[in-house]
């Protein structure tokens, strides 16, 4: 509060010094030229001093300078010299004219100065506003936006506090704010209007309290000091900065809400497809198990031995199917969570052989015919995963395909190829594109149903091995799945001699 009057004081002293110096210079020059010029010219010298003073300094100094100039002129150059007596009315007129000129010039220059100051101020404010707007555009989070707002307000005012209301409606940061200040903040937010000196609301407080945002959307509040009641322009500027900040904050919140909403929607979508898949893939076999088991409990005496066997077979088969779904789900999650570590040399003949051995005993397993080329090159990978891939393909063919299931394994120059063909209805053309998506299981009863995760896992395994898995419709009807695994330089075989 004190440094401004002090600077005003020193400015006044400087003005007085300038005025005195100018009058002194005019006097000196007038005296030096005394023998060559008339007193009219000397008066002109004083006039120059007064005009310069009036232009450069404030009005009071200008008037004092005018009086001093006339007095000095009177004293030094108007006869009788070295007295303040005025002999001639002419000189009175000169004195009056000098005063008039001083007043006029001083008034004019004061107005010019005020106007140019106004222009500078308003340009600075406009700059502050646009700088804040730019910074807010770059701000990616609320803390950064608030910091930018505080910076902008601080460049215009001395003391600034910005407080925002978070998603739960809590104001922060409010630590260390005295209760009356807090009350004023809450009042400004509640009324969504500026309060403080000059606003007609809460004139007793020392600061302006400016809400961020308009009615219903007040995000926070800024407390600004100093707040002279008469500084309407300053108040307007504070309001403008606050509204730019509020817009920035609002934009960030809206974007955040949108992202949240989208993520929620995606999660919901995933959840619902997962639930649909689970409820379908798990409930169908569970229903069959419960039906068969309860039928055996209730009606065993009335069922033939063959019927009882059939039901027991169904229970065992469906339970095995559930177990496979579980295995597929776990494996898919495992594959999705990171690369697998076990990459060893594997024989496709062995993988295929062990899978077929396991599937032979299951319904449809007798239809599998395997043709594996002799001396097939080894591939590098995880045998458990490759076996699961082949199991899923064969299992699908057993369940949904018809006629013989042909498994062939062969090699080309750069790949080992395994294909599984059946004579079932195949995949509907409209379903082909989504066949390998997780949880996609086609229309109920359509081929592929119930294998929801199976094919997705197959493709994931193929890709984890750097290979590919493709589907093709067979010309005469049926499906053909083709797995291609990249061929690598084969390992050295142990020389027989050392054995």
């Amino acid at each position: 509060m004190s440094h401004r009057p002090r600077s005003q004081d020193s400015a006044a002293w400087r003005s007085a010094a300038i005025a005195a110096a100018l009058v002194a210079v005019a006097t000196g020059v007038g005296a030096a030229l005394d023998h060559y010029v008339s007193s009219t010219s000397q008066a002109m010298l004083y006039l120059v001093a007064v005009v310069i003073t009036a232009y450069a300094c404030d009005r009071v100094t200008a008037l004092v300078s005018a009086v001093a100039a006339v007095t000095a002129f009177n004293f030094f150059f108007v006869p009788p010299r070295y007295t303040l007596t005025v002999e001639n009315h002419e000189h009175l007129i000169a004195l009056a004219a000098m005063l008039g000129v001083a007043l006029l010039v001083s008034g004019l220059s004061a107005r010019v100065r005020a106007e140019s100051q106004l222009a500078v101020d308003s340009e600075r404010r406009a700059h502050q506003l646009s700088a804040l707007a730019t910074e807010l555009l770059d701000a990616t989070d609320e803390a950064a936006a608030v910091a930018a707002g505080e910076r902008a307000l601080r460049s215009a005012f001395e003391r600034v506090v910005v407080v925002t209301r978070d998603a739960h409606g809590t104001l922060r940061p409010v630590d260390g704010l005295p209760p009356p200040v807090l009350q004023s903040l809450q009042c400004a937010m509640a009324e969504a209007a500026v309060i403080g000196p000059g606003t007609g609301r809460w004139p007793g407080i020392e600061a302006w309290v400016v809400p961020l945002g308009s009615r219903d959307h007040v995000i926070g509040v800024a407390r600004i000091e100093p707040a002279p009641a008469a500084d309407e322009i300053g108040r307007e500027h504070a309001t403008a900065l606050a509204s730019v900040l509020a817009q920035g904050l609002w934009r960030l919140r809206a974007a955040e809400a949108q992202v949240r909403a989208q993520a929620g929607l995606q999660r919901q979508e995933l959840q619902s497809t997962f639930l649909a898949a689970v409820s379908h893939d798990l409930r169908t076999p569970l229903a069959a198990i419960v039906a068969a088991a309860s039928s055996l409990q209730e009606q065993r005496e009335r069922l033939t031995v063959a019927e009882q066997d059939q039901m027991l077979t169904r229970i065992a088969g469906q339970a095995r199917f559930l177990s496979r779904i579980t295995e597929n789900t776990l494996q898919l999650v495992r594959l999705a969570s990171g690369p697998f570590a076990r990459r060893e040399w594997q024989s496709i003949e062995e993988v295929v052989g062990s899978v077929i051995g396991r599937l032979r005993g299951q319904p449809g397993g007798e239809r599998i015919a395997a043709r594996v080329a002799d001396a097939l090159p080894l591939v590098r990978g995880d045998a458990t995963l490759l076996a699961q891939l082949v199991t899923n393909l064969l299992d699908n063919a057993c369940r949904y395909g018809k006629g013989p299931i042909e498994l062939t394994a062969s090699s080309t120059d750069d790949a080992v190829i395994v294909s599984v063909k059946d004579r079932g209805p195949g995949v509907r053309p409209e379903d082909e594109a989504r066949l390998f998506e997780p949880f996609f299981s086609g229309e109920a009863k359509a081929p592929g149903h119930g294998a929801g995760l199976g094919l997705a896992l197959c493709r994931a395994i193929a890709e984890a091995h750097g290979g590919s898995l493709r589907y093709a419709r067979r010309r005469e009807g049926g499906s053909c799945f083709t797995l291609a695994l990249p061929l690598e330089a084969q390992p050295e075989a142990q020389p027989e001699a050392t054995a």
Binding site: R342, E349, E350, V351, L378, A387, A493, Q494, A499
Partner: protein, 228 residues
């Protein structure tokens, strides 16, 4: 004489089911729900075979395998829901006789139990030296292998591999055990030897090498010479 089987399983449903199924096959069944209970039974009333679950309330069943193996050749069949082949291999290498992954069928369990019992004390008894069945005849002492009456020529490595599998007939022999016994301990990581030589052996011995009758693959774990 009735054979005694100890079932170590913490799930009541599973325990009851195994008890009933094994009793129906004529075994005298005792059950334990925890590692400590199993240890106590092993000490005071040693069974002829253990069916062991791995995740037990007071510890891992795997500890029991190594403890038992240090003292006796008691057959242990592990029955667990754990899929991971590495753990499976570790258990087999630690001395478990066989490993079944839940869910398994009772028929499978009974078959594994029969194999494990046949090998009871195999560390002491002479190993299987002859095999004859399904057109294959192997005489390890005479180093004769015949398929459908025709002699089959095997290289020394192929013969050693077959001999090692036949000695543990019916049981899984892990990759590591095979590599160490046939090629030497410095080759335990060279699983591709096995892939190559097993391929050659199958080509010579099996009617359909891609669907082997004898030389079965235990995916990710090892091989088994199937006798049944």
């Amino acid at each position: 004489m009735t054979l005694k089987v100890l079932v170590v399983e913490d799930d009541a449903e599973m325990r009851g089911l195994l008890r009933a199924s094994l009793a129906a096959e004529g075994f005298a069944v005792t059950t334990a729900v925890s590692l400590s209970e199993a240890t106590a039974i092993l000490k005071h009333d040693p069974p002829d075979l253990v069916v062991l679950d791995l995740g037990l309330p007071d510890g891992d069943g795997a500890e029991l395998v190594s403890t038992v193996r240090r003292q006796s050749a008691l057959p242990i069949v592990v029955a667990s829901a754990r899929q991971d082949p590495i753990g499976k291999i570790a258990l087999l290498d630690a001395g478990a006789d066989d490993y079944l992954i839940k869910p398994f069928s009772i028929a499978e369990l009974l078959a594994r139990i029969r194999v494990a019992l046949r090998h009871r004390g195999s560390a002491l008894q002479p190993a299987l030296k002859h095999f004859e069945g399904d057109g294959l005849r192997v005489d390890l002492e005479a180093r004769v292998v015949e398929r459908d009456g025709d002699p089959v020529h095997l290289t020394p490595t192929e013969f050693n591999l077959l001999a090692r599998l036949l000695r543990g007939a019916g049981r899984i022999v892990t990759h590591r055990q095979l590599l160490a016994d046939v090629w030497g301990t410095e080759h335990v990581e060279d699983t591709h030897y096995l892939r190559l030589y097993m391929g050659q052996l199958r080509a010579k011995l099996e009617r359909a090498p891609s669907e082997p009758r004898f030389l079965r693959t235990e995916i990710g774990v090892g091989y088994r010479f199937a006798v049944e």
